[in-house]
């Protein structure tokens, strides 16, 4: 690492911190809050959701997946981007209107059952953990490339993992990095900025997207594999049409026919069950605003992933062409193809921007990782501290005790994630899956989509859902998906393994079926009609809007600071997300 890249990286991180402090609205009041709800808020909240959602998997992983497997890697981008459409259709507005803070809270109150809450906490923790690991892996990879050196006794990769998790966990635990809407929004803007800069640089250098795809599809796709005499390029098998070569622009390089659908469906259904993303919806002022927020998120995600796919393609073409001119690429590549596909974007950044370019991309990746880790750790701490500790272990906990419970759980989750990330250092796994970071995130999506989403959607849209049904559904969904992973990790034959790695196709319908069957045999909660009024009625929304309208009308101009108490309450809730 040179002084330039270190300087640029430090400057960028400082810039984010500074902007967070400067841009953050001060003296916010109810008026500002509602004003924001109608003018800025929808967009800001959407940016913040993006900040939580776009992780290392999106930033490094999608480009890496496209880099390795071409069209089959694009399915990751499609799936991640599509995930918010079901959220918009089925979840966003009712979830906001019900007004509970987290998924376990929601299920617990909706079904009037503590058991459901605890089971949901368990599933949520598994999802969070499996989402944290790839983030830590992503930061390890970035560190490896950016710094290349480790702390004494640790490899560069391990240093990255340890440092990033430790720093974020410390910040989260001691309240220094509260996941406020503005912080997340600015972090996402930096991420998007890095991606856009890279895209502009690549496009400016004469890269022609369409013909690059054609050119790359002209020859069979080959990726590095360890052989007897070191690494060599091994052509990928075509999973759809055995015998034919796998091509960049055509499906089949990584997934068989069924696995293609399974992967997309897994990602699509998973988003609605992601705890840290769903928690964000409570910062919307109304259900309708939550809906419009999701539309924004869909748009931003589309832009983001379209760019990521384009950059993955560009990396495949440009890095191979640049090997001759850039001697430092020697040790990272085999015949012009990267050993670790996650290096695609950072390397591209270095080719086009030198050391500062590398730093920009690395800053983007680190910000993506940190904002997502922060969101996840907060969600984990909230569900341990709020749902388990305060309700079950120590119902009469003092404020301090609750805070310490939250900190302890943060530390525990962070340590677990870091340890698992170190155990799964990528290079050993690379040939098995297109992009280890993207693939690992898929596991989190699979568990969320199999265990949480079906129960969640049923609880919102079917009055007959019962606590017993939900418990059974979550258990079955979780168990089926995890056992399919285990099966998939065993050698079960080509094609089938990938399908087993994306179990939602089987597990989600099964979970829904079990929920339905068990619910039919048990009685739903008595107050379901009253809950329906809250979930699907707009009375509270209209009241909030009327209040905002009256407030605005009554203070057309000068006095903007008032009703601070309400605003602070909102802010407090905001800070949890």
């Amino acid at each position: 690492m040179t002084v330039t890249s270190a300087g640029t990286l430090a400057a960028l991180i400082a810039l984010v911190a500074l902007m967070t402090l400067v841009v953050r609205p001060r003296g916010s009041s109810t008026v500002d809050f509602y004003l924001a709800g109608q003018r800025v808020g929808v967009a800001t909240n959407a940016l913040a959701i993006c900040g939580d959602y776009f992780s290392a998997a999106s930033f490094l992983g999608v480009a890496a997946a496209v880099y390795v497997s071409g069209l089959d890697g694009v399915w990751y981008a499609v799936g991640f981007a599509a995930g918010f459409v079901p959220v918009l259709l089925f979840v966003a507005a009712p979830l906001r209107r019900f007004g509970e803070f987290s998924i376990p809270d929601f299920l617990g109150r909706r079904l009037a059952s503590e058991r459901v809450r605890l089971v949901a906490v368990g599933v949520v923790q598994i999802v969070i953990l499996s989402y944290l690991i790839p983030q830590a892996v992503g930061s390890g990879i970035t560190w490896q490339l950016l710094v290349g050196r480790g702390l004494p006794g640790l490899s560069a990769y391990e240093t990255g993992v340890v440092l990033s998790t430790a720093v974020v966990a410390g910040l989260v635990a001691f309240g220094g990095m509260r996941g406020t809407t503005w912080t997340q929004a600015i972090q996402f803007l930096l991420l998007l900025g890095a991606l856009v800069w890279l895209a502009v640089a690549v496009a400016g250098s004469g890269f022609h997207y369409s013909s690059a795809v054609a050119e790359l599809s002209a020859e069979p796709l080959a990726n590095p594999a360890p052989g007897d005499a070191g690494w060599y390029l091994r052509p990928e098998d075509n999973q759809i049409d055995p015998g034919a070569p796998a091509l960049f622009g055509q499906p089949g390089a990584a997934y068989g026919p069924l696995a293609q659908f399974a992967l997309i469906l897994t990602l699509v259904l998973g988003t609605a069950g992601l705890p840290h993303v769903m928690n964000r919806y409570f910062t919307s002022p109304t259900g309708t605003a939550a809906r419009m927020t999701t539309v924004w998120v869909i748009g931003l995600a589309g832009l983001f992933y379209a760019l990521a796919v384009m950059l993955g393609t560009a990396a495949r073409q440009q890095i191979a062409a640049a090997v001759d001119d850039h001697p430092w690429l020697e040790e990272l590549t085999v015949d012009g193809v990267l050993l670790v596909p996650e290096h695609a974007l950072p390397v591209l950044g270095r080719i086009y921007g030198g050391d500062s370019g590398l730093a920009v991309v690395a800053a983007g990746a680190l910000v993506a990782v940190m904002s997502t880790i922060a969101g996840l750790l907060l969600a984990a701490a909230a569900s341990w501290g709020h749902d388990v500790y305060e309700r079950h272990i120590n119902p009469r906990a003092t404020e301090t005790q609750a805070v310490w419970a939250g900190r302890a759980s943060t530390a525990f989750v962070a340590v677990a994630a870091g340890a698992l990330a170190i155990a799964m250092e990528p290079r050993e796994l690379t040939p098995a899956v297109p992009s280890i970071v993207a693939a690992m995130v898929t596991w989190a999506f699979a568990i969320a989509g199999s265990a949480l989403t079906p129960v969640f959607v049923l609880a919102i849209w079917w009055r007959g859902t019962t606590a017993a049904g939900a418990t059974a559904g979550m258990t079955v969904g979780g168990l089926v998906s995890v056992s399919m992973f285990v099966l998939g990790a065993l050698p079960v034959g080509p094609g089938l393994g990938e399908t087993l790695m994306t179990p939602t196709l089987v597990a989600a319908p099964l979970a829904a079926l079990v929920t339905w069957l068990v619910s039919r045999r048990t009685a739903p909660p008595d107050d379901v009609e009253r809950q329906w009024l809250v979930l699907h009625g707009t009375a509270a929304d209209r009241h909030a809007e009327r209040l905002a309208r009256l407030t605005l009308a009554s203070l057309q101009q000068p006095t903007r600071r008032r009703s601070g108490r309400t605003a602070r309450r909102r802010e407090g809730r905001d800070a949890h997300g």
Partner: protein
Amino acid sequence: MEFDDGVDEHDTPAEVDAAFRTLRRVAITHVVLFLAALMGVPALSLTLGWWSDGRLAGGMSPGFAMAAFGLYAFFLVIGLAAASLSSAVEARMLGGRHVDDADGFPPEEDRP
């Protein structure tokens, strides 16, 4: 609340149930469309040679172009359509004392 004019909004169960059914219909039609398009892209590449072999101006196949940017635009369009339709349905099927705002008759005047 100091700005509350004392009229709290209120929905009856039958009204909420009606809005719920209509919204469910909206959601289901949109999700069917969405899944058809989403699954259609890989399905076409498995069944229709032209989808992967054809060349759009420049060299990309229709399938790749769809996955690389077409689908994202589609998501945005269908999301916007669903969101605006759902919100409009809610605005029309629940509440509704706003009718009197329209004819220039301030609601406060004739309230008890």
